[in-house]
């Protein structure tokens, strides 16, 4: 068993409070034949300025350093794309740095921004992410994504990342899902939910009104995963402005919303799954060692941790984050979350990694109706609505932007601006998208605290971003 030292498990502490002041994003789509990447990045930054009623030039005058999340140089065919964007944003001669941690790139870009402000190095940071995934056809795109696996040991095996993920899905499906039809339908329900919420989101690439049967009848990609269980391949950009308290107050002088406290933590695990010795399950504040004593008995094959059924990186990010900000029970303490639903089944695995349900019982979060905006079982608001943006399955997965899009979305809820932004007829028209006749306001009423999980396949990097209304902190000195 691997043991971690108390130095390694130390709870992070910021040197001073850090605030999310504003955020913005571009339209997301499979391809933008008519736009260069910088046009999308400028769309995102311009929206961030508009959100707080300042001009882009005013906002820029506050920025001191920049972190750019852009995962795949080979996708965009531009090494050091960060320097191109930095130049086009007219932010020279400020210091800037490229960030890449696979699917978690967006979250990691925020992580770096928060640390730069917390340390006192900068009072205002731009964290911007994007991905250009339309410069190659899908087949070649799958090849390029597979290059993120170990190139000698895994990539030559089919050059298909979905396959490396799907072996984890299969193990979970057999061990915890017990191959039950009812569980397969629960997975399909997640796809229905996320494509359905995407219908209310003008930024979203894949709005669909579908049924569980549609998901179950979509083509098999890697059994039991079908086409509609999988995330999108996207192009787009998103950004966030992260500040210290004094700058946050100045920048929001004429803003309809107040700045939010922000914390970001990170975890990692091996690139090749189960590539280290096993270990005891690291516990979250709402768990006890006792509850997992007979996990292998209840779910034969589930005794090896982290094995193939969970994402240790997500568990560690949640461990650091919850302890840092004082979360005891995520379902009770949080109001809205965005998770990295790369696949319906990895969404369920994440519910367990971050303690929304204990290991083995993730499906209950969907089956109870807790994950919905309005719980279909009770007709009342869901306890902890997830992925109201549509997530990676319904909204987008423009890799470097994804983790920042999630934070834009949860911030809109705490700012009570979700309907204003997502219901804006002008925005729907500008994006050349049709607002549905049954468009529904998905604002989570009274949201004060939120979480976003940004995740790299196959769980190599995960970040947890927590936002709170500064008047609703759980731990005063967090």
């Amino acid at each position: 068993m691997i043991k971690f030292s108390d130095k390694q498990l130390a709870i992070p502490k910021l040197m001073r409070p850090v605030y999310l002041v504003t955020a913005g994003q571009s339209k997301f789509d499979r391809a933008f034949p008519d736009k260069r990447t910088e046009e999308l990045c400028i769309d995102a930054l311009t929206q961030a300025a508009e959100m707080i009623n300042v001009t882009p030039a005013e906002l820029k005058s506050y920025i001191h350093t920049c972190y750019y999340g852009h995962f795949a140089d080979h996708f965009g065919d531009q090494l050091l794309g960060e320097a191109v964007i930095h130049d086009r944003l007219g932010l020279d001669p400020l210091g800037n740095c490229g960030v890449k941690t696979g699917g978690a790139t967006g979250g990691t870009t925020l992580w770096e921004g928060v640390k730069a402000v917390a340390s006192g190095y900068s009072n205002c940071v731009l964290s911007m992410g994007w991905e250009r995934m339309d410069e190659v056809p899908t087949d070649e795109g799958n090849f390029l994504i597979s290059c993120a696996a170990d190139k000698d040991w895994e990539s030559p095996l089919g050059h298909i990342y979905t396959g490396y993920y799907a072996v984890m899905a299969q193990k979970y499906w057999k061990v915890f899902g017990k191959e039950e039809d009812s569980f397969r339908r629960t997975l399909a329900e997640i796809a229905v939910k996320h494509h359905g919420y995407a219908r209310m989101n003008p930024y979203a690439q894949s709005p669909m009104k579908i049924t569980i049967e549609d998901v179950l009848n979509s083509p098999v990609v890697a059994y039991p995963l079908r086409a509609l269980d999988c995330c999108l391949m996207s192009v787009g950009a998103a950004c966030a402005i992260i500040c210290d308290e004094a700058t946050a107050i100045k920048l929001t002088k004429n803003s309809p919303h107040k700045p939010l406290r922000i914390w970001v933590t990170a975890g990692s695990h091996t690139l090749r799954p189960a590539d280290r010795r096993d270990m005891a399950i690291p516990l979250l504040p709402n768990e006890t060692a006792d509850q997992y004593k007979d996990l292998g008995k209840k779910f034969p094959g589930g005794e090896r941790y982290p094995g193939f059924t969970g994402f240790l990186a997500a568990r560690m990010a949640a461990y650091y984050a919850y302890n840092q900000v004082g979360i005891k029970d995520p379902t009770a303490d949080l109001d809205v979350i965005e998770l990295h639903d790369a696949f319906t089944i990895s969404d369920v695995q994440t519910y367990e990694d971050i303690g929304i349900r204990p290991y083995g019982y993730g499906r209950d979060y969907v089956e109870s109706g807790d994950c919905y905006h309005m719980n279909p079982k009770t007709g009342k608001p869901g306890k902890l609505p997830s992925n109201l943006s549509g997530g990676l399955i319904g909204c987008m997965h423009s890799v470097g932007a994804t983790g920042i899009m999630q934070v834009f979305e949860i911030a809109c809820h705490i700012w009570n601006r979700w309907a204003e932004i997502h219901g804006d007829d002008k925005l729907w028209k500008k994006f050349d998208r049709k607002k549905p006749a049954d468009w529904t306001d998905l604002q989570v009423k009274g949201a004060k605290r939120a979480l976003a999980i940004s995740h790299a396949g196959v769980g190599s990097h995960v970040t947890a971003t927590i936002l709170m209304d500064p008047d609703k902190l759980i731990k005063k000195d967090a």
Binding site: F143, G158, T162, G163, Y164, V167, R277
Partner: protein, 196 residues
């Protein structure tokens, strides 16, 4: 005259021969919805990379000889002393000392079992495996990690006993020189070039 890029090492340096890239012209991308105005350009590129296996070379060389090599930490002071790693790791992930290379072909033949698997209908560009690809992750007695590979014959199941096969004829010197088949598979059922 065109010739595949070839490389060998002499005096500690790469010696290269042949073509390492192919030249294909750019083509304009035009908008058929708007008077065929220029929208962009294609950028063809085909390159050959020169990659060192370093300390893992012996693993890939051994596959072509029908042997599965692993490594073991023999550092007396290491908390995980005696741990065997497959996939092959050059250094112990705990103490970072150089590990001992061991031949685990027999352990694989006698104890390999499917830990999990996936039948994948799709592949990315440059894939040369037959679809659907039957990915398997393999556990071994006494080995603390799990190896990814593929099943060349039959249908995978969790817990299924499998044995390794090796491409000894015309090896590729990549991870694809190793595959797995269910225990008791007859040798005349193995894919071309492979043997036990």
């Amino acid at each position: 005259m065109s010739m595949f890029g070839q490389v060998h090492v002499k005096n500690g340096q790469y010696k290269i021969k042949g073509d390492f890239h192919e030249l294909t012209p750019n083509m304009p991308i035009r908008n058929s919805d708007d008077g065929w105005k220029l929208m962009g350009v294609t950028n063809p590129r085909d390159m050959t990379y020169i990659h060192s296996y370093g300390g893992e070379s012996i693993f890939f060389e051994s596959l072509s000889k029908g042997k599965l090599m692993a490594t073991r930490c023999d550092n007396k002071k290491c908390e995980s002393k005696g741990s065997i790693y497959q996939p092959f790791r050059i250094f112990c992930p705990d103490c970072l000392s150089k590990m001992t290379v061991i031949d685990m072909t027999d352990i694989a033949k006698k104890t390999a079992k499917i830990h999990t698997f996936m039948v994948c209908e799709r592949s990315g560009a440059f894939n040369i495996l037959k679809r659907p690809i039957k990915f398997i992750n393999i556990e071994f007695d006494g080995v603390c990690t799990i190896l990814m590979s593929y099943l060349a014959v039959g249908e995978p199941e969790i817990g299924m006993r499998v044995v390794p096969i090796f491409q000894k004829l015309d090896p590729t010197y990549t991870i694809l020189d190793m595959a797995w088949v269910p225990e008791k598979t007859k040798s005349n059922h193995l894919p071309k070039g492979f043997s036990f």
